[in-house]
Every structure is written in structure tokens, then in C-alpha cells.
Assembly symmetry: C2
Homo-oligomer: 245 residues x 2
């Protein structure tokens, strides 16, 4: 337990590529991939999926599929042919998935989980679990790294905005402080964008990429706070819903 005077840190890392510069084995890492992996993971666990096995490659997912697992695979914003599920949160609001185990691979989100595997603990963050996640984090008495999944190792705006929202909420508890300019920038961008996230996002590259695939409904869901109030935590190889909110 920390003393009352010593705050924990909360810092934003803009992409898996930069993670070694922030990594610390004693920190909790929050993996963020707003559009759409971490929003889908929250949605799945909130609606009753029992466990999710994140895997980094499509090949690994195919091997699990051959063994009879329900498998989700997305690459380049589209469902990979031959898989049961893609990366749309709406697919996971399905009574048939209740109590099931799902194997899951996406372009960026599952890579970020792999990069952070040495962390003290890995949890999943998105706008859809914002409040419950921040409450949970504020009870852990640990330093926090907010790891944006980015787009193919590059900075992306939606993960940064979500990280900014989390950092702002955590600092407001007075239990956390931020030192890095990346955290300052993420909070500033969130401050600038929060009144209308979708409008702000319309100028971003990933937004345009998703627009091509008619994913406006997904985007709206993924940018709405607290629609899937669950804290997915990595236990062994599986993501499960934390019992403590």
C-alpha cells in the first residue's frame, strides 16, 4: 500500500513500437484498441462470453478453429474469410455465444497484448468500459501504462483519445500523476475532442478507412462511454471479466 503522499504514475504510450521505452514489469498495462478490438472484447465479455483467447496470428487462429473452437479473425478492418466472427462489437451481442470460449486475432489489438506480456498485469480498455475500468485501476495501487495499439505500429487518434480520457479520470482521483509529454498531449487532445468525438474523428485516417466499409454504427458504439461495463483482465492466456468492479 502506497503512502498517502506518493502518487502512482499514469502514462500514455502511443504504439506497441514505443512500448519498450515505457515498459516496466511492475506496472499494469491497459491495452487500448478502440476501433475495434478492445471494444469488441468488452462487448463479448459483458454479454456473457466466458473467456477470450487472444492470439497474434491468423494461422494460430486457424489451428484453434480446426480443433473446434469458435474463432474471430480480422485483418485490414475486415473479417478474414472462413472465420466465424470478425471484429465488430455488434457480432458479440449474441445469446448463442453466452458461456463460450472465443479465439480472437486482430490487426493491432492482439499484437499489443503480446508486446505487453511481461507486465505485472494486462487489462483491456476502451470507451465502452471507461468508468468501470478507471474505478478498478484506482483500487490497484500500481503504476499504469496506457498502451495504444495504434495502426500497424503507428500512432492513431482514437486510441490516444481514449488513453487521454482514462488518464484524465485517474488524475482526477488524486491518486495518480503523469510526467510524460505523451500523456499531456493525449489529455489535451481528449479535452479538445470530447464534446463530439465522432466529429473530431472524421478527420482521422483510420476513421476514413472504416468509413469505406460502412462501419458507422460500429464507430458510434465504440466511441460511446460505458456501454459494456466490464474489466477484461488477462489470466494466464485468457481474457476474462474481472469479478471486482
Amino acid at each position: 500500500m502506497q503512502s498517502k503522499d506518493v502518487k502512482n504514475t499514469v502514462e500514455v504510450c502511443f504504439s506497441p513500437h514505443s512500448f519498450p521505452l515505457y515498459a516496466n514489469e511492475d506496472s499494469i498495462v491497459v491495452v487500448i484498441d478502440v476501433l475495434r478490438a478492445t471494444s469488441s472484447i468488452c462487448s463479448a465479455l459483458h454479454y456473457g462470453v466466458e473467456r477470450i483467447l487472444p492470439v497474434a496470428s491468423v494461422l494460430e487462429a486457424r489451428n484453434y478453429q480446426a480443433k473446434g473452437f469458435i474463432c474471430a479473425a480480422e485483418r485490414h478492418a475486415q473479417k478474414v474469410e472462413g472465420f466465424d466472427l470478425g471484429n465488430s462489437p455488434s457480432e458479440y451481442h449474441n445469446p448463442k455465444l453466452k458461456g463460450k470460449v472465443i479465439v480472437f486475432t486482430t490487426t493491432n489489438g492482439t499484437q499489443a497484448i503480446r508486446v505487453a506480456r511481461e507486465a505485472y498485469r494486462i487489462v483491456i480498455g476502451s470507451f465502452v468500459n471507461l468508468t468501470v475500468l478507471c474505478n478498478w485501476l484506482s483500487h490497484q495501487h500500481k503504476n499504469i501504462i496506457l498502451l495504444c495499439s495504434g495502426w500497424k505500429d503507428l500512432f492513431n487518434i482514437e486510441d490516444t483519445l481514449c488513453a487521454g480520457a482514462i488518464a484524465q479520470k485517474l488524475e482526477q482521483t488524486n491518486l495518480f500523476e503523469a510526467h510524460h509529454d505523451s500523456t499531456f498531449a493525449a489529455k489535451s487532445l481528449y479535452e479538445l475532442a470530447h464534446k463530439d468525438l465522432i466529429q473530431f474523428m472524421e478527420n482521422s485516417s483510420h476513421f476514413k478507412r472504416l468509413e469505406k466499409f460502412n462501419l458507422a454504427e460500429d464507430v458510434k458504439y465504440c466511441l460511446t462511454p460505458d456501454l459494456a461495463p466490464v474489466v477484461p483482465i488477462l489470466e494466464g492466456n485468457y481474457l476474462i471479466a474481472s469479478k471486482n468492479k
Copy 2:
């Protein structure tokens, strides 16, 4: 010469660590280290220094010093003991330096120049040469990478704001377009901060670091546009003032 319909790109890279993700041998790289290396380089060439030899290590600078060169070395925001000059732009406004060659090494700025050495061309950017630099860039008909030096490979806010200012000015010419979210973020942050850069910067980590050393005057100089209207370009191993503005 490009056709009228095809715009060149301008993109912001947040730190030398991320440069391999943006690198392109056919691009012009603008190295930015607002506090204070690239501001000092502009200041030196503007006030009559003939050439600057950027070197990556203090040891290299010491070797040149032993051979009789005037040498500048900064580490951790302070002049390295035993050197002629540090990293304050005010030191370079000195008639005795007119026509001289200076060897120069700093914590972040000269490392960024080294990282970009395979580029089509390297030039130096800062607020103090903002307008003349953008005019020069808009006549080159090349893609531009704005390479922020950061702080020890991490994102920093002042270089990002400067990159945002350059990107915004270049896009306003209608000759350039930006695709990456990093460029969108840098422009958004500049838009948020530009009315009072110093006030905005007061919350940043590097600002606090410099404040400890009583460098308020330097910071004010470095954040003021167009005080040293010169375009430093790398020719061979030396930075010289471009003859074409």
C-alpha cells in the same frame, strides 16, 4: 515537377525511435528540436556562423576541440564542462563567431540528424525559422517528413507543436496533404496551443526541466516565430544556410 493534381505529402514523426516507420529515401526530412538545438543552429547561421558540423557524441566533439575547432556540447539541458559553447541560442548572437565553423553535439537534436542521414535531404526546423522554412519547402516538390527529436526517444510537446505549425502552413499552400493521424494530432495540438505557446507549454515535462536551469529567456526566444529567418541544410557533413530562401 509534379502534376497540379498530385500533392506531396507532409507527415509528422514524433521521435527518432519511430523514424524507421516513416523513413523514405526520396523525402526531405526536417529535423526539429525546438528546445533548443535547432533554434540555436538557426540562430548561429542567421548571425553569421559559416558552417556547423553536427556530431552525435561528446567524445567526437572533444576530438575536434583538441584539433582547435570551436565546439558546443550540451547534455541534460546543460553545457558540458570544458566546452566553448552550450545549447543556448543567445550564445550564438556573438560577432566573434562570424565566419567560423562550429562543432555541435546535443542530447537529442544531433541524434535525430544522424537517424535521418539516408534521406534525400535534411534541413533544420524550429519556430524561429518557420515562415522562411515553409516557403523553401513549398518550392522543393518533394514529400516531407517532420522529424521531432523528442526527449531521449520519447515524444515531446514543443517539437510536436512546431511540426504541427509547419504541417498546417504547408497544407495551406494546397501543394501538400497529410494522411497520418500523427500529423492530424500535431496540427490539432498546435491549433489548441498557438495563441499562447508558453502558457500551453507550462504543463509539459521538458519545460519544467528547463525551468530548473533558469532558461525562461531561451524558451521565449525558441517559441517566437521568425526571429532567425534562415534555412539550414545539410551539405555533406555540414549545416550551412541555404542560399535560396
